[in-house]
């Protein structure tokens, strides 16, 4: 009986390592496809780097959306929305460099303010109190 549980534990351990390995491999593969496909030319590395960093931020946003979809409790979903708001500020900041339009960072500031206030309101709602308290 003890041997059996031990075997079961070992199998579970190996399964977990395997899952970790497959997950990391797929993430590294997705990152490599984003960053090196097609192979960037050396001459205009700045615009290439910025365009691909936007793609990396989009991948981060997809992770947040996955947590919103799966989250077992409402608190998980609110945390994801909060993190998504901060990510969009970084997105706007990077977007302003290659296009040369300075007003993207203004959108980022407004979005961060709105996100902070809405997070506080949602936290109050989670706590189960009135908003004017």
């Amino acid at each position: 009986m003890a041997l059996r549980t031990k075997e079961k534990g070992a199998a579970k351990f190996i399964m977990r390592q395997l899952r970790w390995f497959i997950g990391m491999l797929s993430i590294v593969a997705i990152l490599a496809i984003i960053l090196f496909n097609p192979i960037p030319s050396i001459l205009e590395w700045q615009s290439v780097l910025l365009r691909r960093s936007l793609n990396v931020l989009l991948l981060c946003g997809l992770f947040c959306l996955w947590r919103i979809l799966r989250g077992p409790t409402p608190a998980d979903r609110i945390v994801s929305v909060d993190i998504l708001g901060i990510l969009i500020l970084g997105f706007c900041a990077i977007l302003g460099i290659p296009t040369g339009r300075d007003w993207y960072i203004d959108i980022g500031i407004a979005w961060a303010l709105q996100s902070f206030i809405s997070t506080l309101a949602l936290a109050k709602y989670l706590e189960g109190r009135n908003l004017d308290e």
Binding site: R16, W20, F21, M24, I109
Partner: protein, 165 residues
């Protein structure tokens, strides 16, 4: 005009000038009007003890506090990255209770913010009368009040007391 209104006016004007950076007279006039209006309306709400802004030593201690804070932030990020990548997720979480001797609102806010951004800790609630903080710790080393306060709070407390108290 009380002192706290003047300080709030200066802070608001600085933020306005930052938001409309290349300074020209039009923006300056509008900024003075708006900052004066805001300072008149919400004068005594934000700054309770304006005499604290006079001491030069507080600013020097704040400059001493900044690099320590940034270094702790970077350590926290490397710690989180290690825990995320590791296959077995080396977590050992729990909520502990720590004790602090700071009293004023600003100092407690800054203490809670510093605790949240430093390695492995997240402040959950504050009990202001007793001076207790409840902290979620990702790697609990001891659940005792004294031990935990020595490990988490003490390094910030002694600087923050000189800045805000």
């Amino acid at each position: 005009m009380s002192k706290s209104r003047i300080i709030l006016f200066i802070l608001g004007l600085l933020i306005w000038l930052g938001l409309s950076w290349p300074v020209n007279p039009q923006h300056l006039i509008v900024g003075v009007l708006v900052a004066g209006f805001v300072a008149l309306l919400t004068g005594d709400m934000f700054i309770k003890r304006p005499y604290l802004f006079k001491h030069a030593s507080r600013y020097l201690w704040f400059l001493y506090y900044l690099p320590i804070f940034i270094w702790e932030c970077i350590k926290a990020n490397i710690d989180v990255a290690y825990r995320v990548i590791h296959p077995n997720r080396p977590l050992n979480p729990g909520i502990v209770k720590v004790k602090t001797s700071l009293k004023s609102d600003t100092a407690l806010t800054f203490l809670a913010n510093s605790i949240t951004l430093t390695p492995g800790t997240l402040s959950v609630d504050i009990d202001q009368e007793g001076g207790f903080l409840y902290i979620h710790w990702i790697d609990v080393k001891s659940s005792d009040v004294e031990e935990a306060s020595k490990l988490i709070v003490e390094r910030f407390e002694r600087i923050l007391r000189r800045i805000f108290e």
